[in-house]
């Protein structure tokens, strides 16, 4: 697999077809084209487009679960959320946790990819094992870690106890410092293998001649990494980091099942708050308004990453 398969080689979204001759072959394309696209279009418009418009509408109402359509309340939901004292904290927390998780995933992914890039026996088997966190269901991974870190019957407490390192159970998930760290830890554990494997794929497309040339020019190990490996990985890293930022920021399962937002909101990130507003407090209007408030940030990231993937494809 080559570096540019990350965005599909030779892809040029929407660029003109390569030949314009044989016009007669393409007669009837218009009707058939729309016919073939229509099921997918129906799915996208009906199940993504319509809900999206619906979300915007609901965000201007006081709709609650099981209480009919609700009344038009204008910007009241937005004012409520923006005026809520915990809002700024929640945004800062979401951003910091996302940045920390993405940064550590990138670093560990890069280190693992560099290590795996050497030739040794059993590398393929290792690569298979390192893919496990990525293919396993997120909810199972979180359930297992949740049990390991549990304050009463948790495995980590049992282990520390049996080695005599602690004398009484430590409530890892009930202390805000350790809860936040462990949330980031589980995000990293689940996410870094994807980074490592795509980075590794990228490294393997870098020509060994470049390394040889750098050696001849007297570049040491660090210089080769800095001036050959990193520039070669720039595209792949850009796409992976941006994609992962979007998804890390929107991860609901991990905080929901690991900490439930606690202790005292220390891990209440944006998607979790949305869920709590809508599904636990039944305040659908506010639950719909919150993601729309975050939309500029998410939309910007999506635009940048889509542009990146397009540009790389046409380059």
């Amino acid at each position: 697999m080559s570096q540019d398969t990350l965005t599909q080689p030779g892809v040029s979204v929407g660029s003109p077809p390569k030949q314009k001759k044989n016009k007669s072959l393409f007669a009837g394309d218009v009707r058939l084209g729309w016919l073939l696209v229509s099921p997918a279009l129906l799915v996208v418009l009906g199940m993504v487009g319509y809900p999206f418009v619906e979300a915007i509408r609901i965000s201007f109402t006081d709709r609650m679960v099981g209480r009919g359509p609700g009344r038009w309340v204008g910007l009241a939901n937005y004012e409520y959320i923006l005026g809520w004292p915990g809002f700024t904290d929640m945004v800062v927390r979401t951003v910091l946790i996302t940045i920390a998780a993405v940064a550590i995933k990138t670093l560990v992914g890069l280190i693992l990819a560099t290590s795996l890039n050497m030739n040794f026996r059993g590398r393929d088997i290792l690569r298979g094992v390192f893919m496990l966190p990525w293919i396993l269901p997120t909810y199972i991974i979180v359930l297992v870690w949740r049990w390991i870190f549990d304050g009463q019957t948790g495995l980590l407490n049992q282990i520390l106890m049996s080695f005599g390192l602690i004398t009484e159970n430590y409530p890892f998930l009930a202390k805000s410092g350790s809860a936040v760290s462990l949330l980031i830890f589980v995000m990293v554990w689940k996410g870094y293998p994807f980074y490592a494997l795509t980075f590794l794929a990228g490294m393997q497309t870098i020509s060994s001649e470049l390394y040889d040339a750098a050696k001849v020019d007297g570049a040491g190990r660090l210089a080769r990494f800095r001036y050959v490996t990193l520039p070669g990985l720039r595209q792949v890293m850009g796409v992976v980091i941006l994609l992962s930022t979007i998804w890390t920021m929107n991860t609901l399962e991990i905080p929901m099942l690991l900490t439930g937002g606690g202790p005292s909101n220390a891990t209440e990130v944006f998607p979790l708050l949305t869920y709590h507003l809508a599904m636990q407090n039944f305040r659908l209007g506010e639950g719909a308004a919150l993601p729309i408030l975050m939309l500029p940030v998410i939309g910007l990231l999506v635009l940048v990453v889509a542009g990146y993937m397009d540009r790389e494809a046409t380059a």
């Binding site: 199940m47 298979g128 390192f130 990525w134 359930l143």
Partner: protein
């Protein structure tokens, strides 16, 4: 510092790499190892003292999960939803991706670009409106409701993946078939689809996995036992008052067995798809 690192001999560097790999490897295996061993321990042993290995093997947890917790029912539910979603999505996406990469019609360029944007929309934005629409349509606690929700993220993804593949596929055989009098549909059926089997397999595996592993939409859309998905059934072990580790671990192993098996059988395809930036996570 730079010179110091540069002077470290290659062999020392290999040792450092081996240590890094070993530590990360152990961190991967650690929870998985205890998941497996704990599933074979008696409850009393799980809650008492730490042990590396079950002092006494038991299959109680597995029997418990199967008999008392309706896990088989949830597995069947999940299988129905996963297979239906995968089949529908593959058909819809293959047709769309063929049209978007091969046919010329107004609107094509916009739609081709739009596919990527729709694929990138995070699920957290769609959760509440999707929930309301499914409820409104009377599809809460039904398989069609779950299938529709899963289709909404799978169709853009699968179409995007297939478009990428079709663009790399040579047009020459197709054009020859058209010149020889095939219709577009004949050419799609007899030439393009057989040549696209690897991509279709990759896409199917990803869709099946995503549906199988999906938790949030399954949680809000189906709460009754007849339609509950395996992810919701298992997570309930923790959420509800009966927090029982043994059955939870046994259930987890049963739940992940199909995806792990599928992955081992089709590792080649999965690695290929990985490069397509395929999975949200």
């Amino acid at each position: 510092m730079t010179q110091f690192i540069d002077r470290i001999p290659e062999s020392v560097f290999r040792v450092i790499s081996a240590i890094v790999i070993f530590i990360l490897f152990m961190l991967i295996l650690f929870p998985l190892y205890f998941m497996v061993t704990t599933s074979f321990k008696f409850e009393s042993e799980i809650y008492s003292q730490f042990s590396w290995f079950p002092r006494e093997f038991t299959s109680t947890n597995y029997r418990d999960v199967v008999v008392n917790y309706r896990i088989p029912q949830y597995l069947v539910n999940t299988l129905i939803v996963a297979i239906s979603t995968t089949s529908i999505v593959v058909v819809v996406s293959v047709l769309a991706s063929y049209a978007l990469t091969r046919l010329r019609f107004p609107g094509r360029a916009v739609m081709a670009r739009g596919v990527l944007f729709v694929y990138l929309i995070p699920g957290s934005l769609m959760l509440i409106p999707m929930y309301l629409i499914i409820v409104k349509a009377g599809l809460k606690d039904t398989f069609p409701g779950l299938i529709i929700a899963n289709m909404s993220f799978s169709v853009p993804f699968c179409t995007w993946l297939m478009m990428g593949y079709l663009r790399t596929l040579s047009h020459e055989i197709e054009e020859a078939s058209l010149i020889d009098g095939c219709t577009r549909m004949q050419s799609l059926w007899h030439i393009v689809i057989p040549l696209s089997i690897p991509a279709i397999v990759t896409a199917s595996i990803f869709i099946f996995n995503n549906v199988w592993n999906e938790y949030i939409f399954a949680l809000v859309l189906a709460q009754d036992d007849k339609h509950k998905m395996i992810s919701v059934g298992l997570a309930n072990f923790q959420v509800s008052d009966i927090y029982r580790v043994g059955p939870m671990m046994a259930g987890s192993i049963i739940a992940m067995a199909p995806v792990v098996t599928l992955y081992i059988l089709a590792q080649r395809h999965v690695v290929g798809g990985l490069s397509a930036g395929a999975v949200k996570g």
